[in-house]
Assembly symmetry: C2
Homo-oligomer: 379 residues x 2
């Protein structure tokens, strides 16, 4: 199979899970260039970004709310900024937040910035690292015992960035509500890739990443809230009418919001093809594990079977090759690079994370073939 | 003079003060397109945006600090986000911040988001609206009397967005320090247009706007701090090594930081031509005031003579024309639009704000000529 043919419309196949669902279309890049100038979306503004009608930001944020099944949505600069906004709106310094044991570092830092104490739930440990509703029930109980009151809020990482585990958000939301605790769902790795309906999941707040999972030019994200929580999150300034305090008036006031608008029609379509993405992830995982008869040589870490495109592999096989290779551990990214494949950290061989999101079947075959060729270096 | 000749490299001459110093160069737009994909700057990241060496963000933030005469600088999403970060780092909820009487609404909203009480200094009132060191001394005293302790921090709007008044930051910083109060300078309308040296001005924190005054594709800004304040502003997470709490780990993680880097070489040069910009602003103001022999017909509001390109005019002359015009007040933006000039709010005739920043002498002549032609409609 010719490299030239496979990567004809992408110079490099980038497997980095940060990147695969953030690739922009030509249409989006055109929109960005058109609005590249500083405050270019603000020419027809009457004071509130989300009310601008040209470009139609006003209509767009309503579409976003519909898309996410949430009463009210707004753009932010990204998921981490959204998490801070929610924590800062709902909790007071000294309060406690319960987060899953797989939460991203930005969840912890956002909580620290808001002055909150963090209690992590357990996960099921190696090799699946599953987060269960039971772990939330236990940790919410623990919080109440230790602090004398319920957690101010709980956060669940819908799909974590280490193992790509898809959690049972509906069940965990129920556990939180039974304990009288509102829940924010961090969908940085899910919304924009797969269908999400906050109302059906029963969650109170949602946080999304435009540059990670909505094919947008970042930094941009989305926050949303249901019911009365929307009034809290989107509270207005007592002195400056119409200005959202938590949004500092206006957030994504540039090319980033235009890129999200331009990317959105295709995002709405692509989430409907999520089953195909999951099938691709499972096919890739099976092919990688089949590279050796010895199960310890290549092993998928995280819950099985895969229900997400982010795949973590333990790769003893590739590690052993590096031990006898003149380039040592750097051979792997180098061999992949020679084949037009990027996204692995240079030097990393014992394990790595990759994402199969958005690749065509042909591209996926090509990637599997590349790893197969490299695995043959062992002999 | 032919419209086609004047606006040959810009479809429209946009006089909106938000826009004139945020126009991007072709070089910057190319950089943005190259890095339009989601997390495109993060491919070679080891965990901290400001340490990335390819693209050279690490070297760039050091250059920014040098450029601003500040010990340490970092990117933010904009000036408002920078103000909140400073307030949130230095003050506790319930503390008081003293701000100038011309402060932007985002200063108030940022303080409200941080839970601070705001006391405004006086300005000198109509028509100059001057902010003086004496007004800061009085207000800092008032704060101490009313609250029983010094203000937690003071903020000065270096150049305000209503009148384009350039304040005496060095003298006001001295007044604040004499009162034992640190000061943050909001340079959204100054740094990137004119030379600024925080150390020489004696200020503790600086806040800048990339999309407003650094010819960058937003949203992006800069914060900086001098001396021990830098440790406070850039404090690290107790649990996640190297992660800045106030920056939530990483801020401008996309095309926005690449655009700021691409724009920076020209920004460094253009601030050295600030005298020419001031001369242009004065020439334009004089020409506008000369449109009528009656001083009340066109009058510059704010301090005289102009020391900044943002010019506010009271325009009774243009208002009177609208009263007898079939398009009413909309005639003005319409007449300007016919001449390829944008940036005035449709319907606004009694007063307006415009900026002369970055226009060539020929373009400025053309703009003056346009207003002269429109003024002739009175007869």
């Amino acid at each position: 199979m010719s490299l030239d043919r496979v990567i004809i419309d992408e110079l490099v196949l980038n497997l980095n899970p940060l990147q695969t669902a953030g690739r922009t279309s030509a249409e989006t890049r055109k929109a960005v260039t058109r609005f590249a100038d500083g405050y270019s979306v603000c020419d027809r503004c009457n004071g509130v970004l989300h009310d601008i009608e040209k470009p139609d930001i006003c209509g767009f944020v309503k579409q976003l709310a519909d898309f996410l099944g949430i009463d009210r949505a707004a753009t932010t600069m990204g998921a981490r900024e959204g998490k801070f906004a929610v924590f800062h709106s709902v909790a007071q310094p000294g309060d406690t937040v319960v987060v899953d044991g797989n939460a991203h570092y930005t969840t912890h830092v956002a909580a620290q910035r808001a002055g909150l104490n963090v209690i992590k739930t357990n996960h099921s440990g190696y090799p699946e690292y599953e987060i269960t509703p039971e772990s939330y029930a236990l940790t919410l109980d623990q919080c109440k015992t230790e602090t004398g009151k319920p957690a101010a809020i709980a956060l669940l990482t819908h799909v974590d960035g280490n193992y790509g585990n898809l959690t049972d958000a509906a069940a965990i939301a129920k556990v939180c509500h039974d304990a009288g605790v509102p829940i924010v769902l961090n969908t940085a790795y899910s919304s924009g890739r797969m269908p999400i309906n906050a109302r059906e999941l029963g969650i109170d707040f949602i946080v999304c990443s435009g540059h990670k999972s909505f094919a947008a030019c970042g930094p941009i994200g989305i926050i949303g809230a249901n019911g009365e929580w929307a009034d809290r999150l989107f509270r207005l300034s007592p002195t400056h009418q119409n200005k959202n305090i938590e949004l500092l008036g206006c957030t994504a006031r540039g090319a980033n919001i235009v890129s999200l608008i331009a990317a959105f029609p295709e995002v709405k379509k692509r989430v409907l093809r999520w089953d195909e993405e999951v099938a691709k992830a499972q096919r890739f995982t099976a092919a990688m594990e089949a590279l050796s008869d010895n199960p310890g040589d290549i092993m998928q870490i995280g819950m099985r079977p895969k229900h997400h495109d982010l795949i973590r592999l333990e790769t003893q096989l590739f590690h052993e090759i590096g031990e006898n290779h003149r380039k040592r551990g750097y051979y792997l990214s180098s061999e992949l690079g020679d084949r037009g494949i990027a996204g692995l950290k240079p030097g990393q061989t014992k394990w790595f994370k990759i994402s199969t999101y958005g690749f065509s079947d042909t591209q996926l075959d090509y990637i599997i073939n590349a790893f197969t060729e490299i695995a043959a270096l062992r002999f």
